[in-house]
């Protein structure tokens, strides 16, 4: 009987941790509904411009990312012996955990007014142009994150095509166009709608990128408008109105995504790119080689060069001056703490929910389904909106600036929860179906079962999930900006300030430190928790 109660308590706490913030936020929003002058906001052209821009930039980002990803995936599939392939795929796999502010910094280094592109342009005789702030910069940043993500998933699809199919195509003498029409497109088109839905949702709620590269009257999204309403205008009612609007849109986007099929796992493509043999008949033509070279160079320019630019910018004389700054180390420690706490909290929440789900699956399938929905709330109430709700809801009761790191941890762990939950529940179902009978026949229960049977199987997916949540939380610049106070810093916030205050050298060093922290967290946690590879 004791066992039953202990997991009850565990699950109960998990539910509370997930639901309480949400209820607080919703309560805060509702308390403002009477004050808000809905009709006034509705009439403001500003509101509609913001709404339009949110949809427009997300649509453009999705289309551009997907088209480029199709080209890149195809070229990578054709060039199995291309020298930079390993490096490119490795960069693609870590691009996801690069902090937004670092990507933005890299893009500014490359495309800013004094950036490499303008230097090249100037050398060629042109006048320097400023194009990075606004829609172009936002698109570049969104492509930086989503092109690698989509390309890996598409490449995985291409690599799953049976070798027989390629042999058949070479025997039938198919041209490159035929291969695309008869083999590649039919294999890829199934995954495109869900992929598009996922990228769209990511771009629609990408706050930090738009805040840093956009933000002007022409390039503001709903989330940035919420931020500005709170931090600059102190207009809570307007923030509430915009938040509710954002929830409505996110709900709609999620609903559309679900109608298109089961959401794809954005991290499922780990380990892609290992097939060494190209059996394709279209790798030898000169046109094909030129085309692939151009495509892969473009991908390098969009994804690898910004990262390299960050590293180069970090090599300067400001090292010592930056490193002896106590603020930097406080921020570093805070970021590390946020990262590890978020990963752990996310895991505990997911575990509690999965235990309840496992219990209910037998008797109340509907309740088991509801658990999954509970864990995915963050998809409908995006992080910045949830943080807004908490900010407004908690402000009368506590010093919101003093608790900012706790809120950052909470929101970040909720962000990782849908993924963590799916990873755990899939692994648990597998453990259950593979070993339940064996365990009961050998009388392996409780702690023994967890230790001997479940952990060896669960540690790999858990390790990867925690590594991702930790790395992403370390780079978070959403919640922390909203709750930010001068006293409590994190590395991304410090980086953001240095970027704004033209301390180029200090920004460069901070950026390398932050990038190093995120990547180290990701790689170390994945290896240490995930255990040795086969």
């Amino acid at each position: 009987m004791f066992k039953l109660r202990s997991w009850h308590a565990f699950s109960g706490i998990s539910f509370l941790l997930v639901l309480l913030p949400l209820l607080t936020a919703v309560g805060a929003f509702l308390s403002y509904t009477e004050q808000a002058q809905w009709s006034l906001y509705m009439q403001e052209s500003y509101t509609w411009r913001v709404v339009w821009f949110s949809w427009w930039q997300a649509t453009l980002s999705t289309v551009i990312s997907l088209v480029l990803a199709l080209l890149v995936a195809r070229s990578l599939a054709r060039r199995t012996h291309f020298i930079g392939r390993w490096l490119m795929l490795r960069c693609f796999s870590v691009a996801l955990v690069v902090p937004s502010i670092i990507a933005v910094y890299g893009i500014i280094l490359l495309h800013g007014k004094q950036g490499y592109m303008n230097q090249l342009w100037h050398w060629l005789g042109g006048q320097p142009r400023s194009y990075v702030y606004g829609l172009v910069g936002i698109l570049l940043a969104h492509v930086f994150f989503n092109l690698p993500l989509a390309a890996r998933i598409l490449l995985q699809r291409l690599e799953a095509i049976a070798p027989e199919t390629w042999r058949l195509s070479s025997q039938l003498g198919m041209s490159s166009t035929d291969l695309w029409r008869h083999i590649e497109w039919p294999h890829l088109k199934g995954v495109l709608p869900q992929l598009a839905a996922m990228i769209f949702a990511l771009c629609f709620t990408s706050f930090a990128i738009v805040m840093t590269l956009g933000g002007g009257p022409k390039a503001t999204t709903i989330e940035v408008a919420i931020f500005q309403a709170i931090r600059f205008d102190f207009d809570m009612a307007k923030a509430v109105y915009l938040s509710l609007l954002q929830i409505l849109f996110c709900g709609f986007i999620l609903w559309c995504g679900l109608r298109l099929g089961r959401p794809i796992d954005m991290f499922a493509s780990q380990g892609v790119g290992h097939s060494q043999l190209s059996l394709r008949p279209d790798t030898q033509s000169l046109m094909g080689k030129l085309h692939d070279t151009a495509v892969l160079l473009l991908a390098t320019l969009l994804v690898l060069v910004p990262l390299v630019a960050v590293v180069i910018a970090g090599i300067n004389d400001a090292w010592l001056q930056v490193l002896i700054d106590v603020r930097l180390w406080r921020a570093f420690v805070n970021s590390l703490w946020v990262a590890l706490s978020s990963a752990l909290l996310s895991l505990l929440m997911a575990w509690g929910l999965v235990l309840a789900q496992r219990y209910w699956r037998r008797h109340h399938p509907f309740a088991a389904e509801a658990v999954e929905w509970t864990g995915s709330i963050i998809l409908v109430v995006p992080p910045l909106v949830l943080a807004t709700g908490l900010f407004i809801g908690l402000r009368p009761h506590v010093d919101v600036f003093a608790i900012n790191l706790y809120v950052v941890v909470l929101v970040n762990s909720l962000m990782g929860l849908p993924y963590m939950l799916r990873v755990l529940s899939v692994a648990y179902i597998k453990v259950s179906s593979d070993y339940d009978r064996l365990c009961s026949s050998l009388a392996i229960y409780g702690w023994q079962r967890l230790h001997q049977v479940e952990w060896p199987i669960l540690r790999r997916p858990i390790g990867l999930a925690m590594a991702l949540v930790a790395a992403m939380s370390a780079g978070d610049l959403g919640v922390v900006a909203l709750f930010g106070s001068p006293d409590i810093q994190t590395l991304p916030l410090l980086m953001y300030q240095r970027l704004g205050s033209y301390q180029a050298d200090a920004a460069g060093v901070t950026a390398v430190l932050l990038l190093g922290l995120s990547l180290t967290l990701f790689l170390v946690l994945e290896r240490v928790l995930g255990g040795p590879r086969d």
């Binding site: 049976a162 199919t165 042999r167 025997q171 039938l172 003498g173 198919m174 035929d178």
Partner: protein, 238 residues
Amino acid sequence: MIELKHVRCGIGEQQFHYDLQLPEGEIVAVMGASGAGKSTLLNLLAGFVKPDSQVHGEGEIYLGGERVDTLEPSQRPMTSLFQEHNLFAHMSVYQNLALGIRSNLKLTTQEQRQVEQALEQVGLANMAGRLPKQLSGGQRQRVALGRALVRRKPLLLLDEPFSALDPALRHDMTMLLKTLCQQHQLSALVVTHEPRDALALAQQVVFIAQGRVHWQGTSEDFLQQTDAGIKAYLGENC
């Protein structure tokens, strides 16, 4: 005559070396343990695997006196048939056959007639519009055979074509293959694990072990062999 002159290739750790002459117009069974190099032999013939660099007079492959190892897979006078993945899932049976004639699927009236005839010969005349997923495993292999017919290449390379099928169905398909080869005067190399299939289908057997031709002879002789390697492969029951 189908001839491989000291054709060598290395895949990973394993070395393959084939020196082989086979009569044309016959069905030859290729047998041997898993990983012995049966599929590699077929892949070399079809051009899916390239032989290692050649010394003059070695590493050449001839079919009916014509040298074929210098040709691209699509130009070689042969058609391959695999255990699965022979069809394009999104194309109808008809289109899958049409692909054997022209990869843009635009056929002349005469070519359309050829496709219809081939479908009749493999017993799928009323299924032209179906998709592969609406067919059984045996029917899918019939489609692949149909395409081999419309391609009109003199040599068939079949890599365990019916292994995934039930015994009765496998027998039917084996008989169909035999009939079609006789009608169209086709040569065929069939990789199989079933001694019974080999006996029913083939006049000749090539036994591969450790990447080389270990034994070659008639199928009746094969089953009577006292050779230790072959006996170990066949087991006690045969």
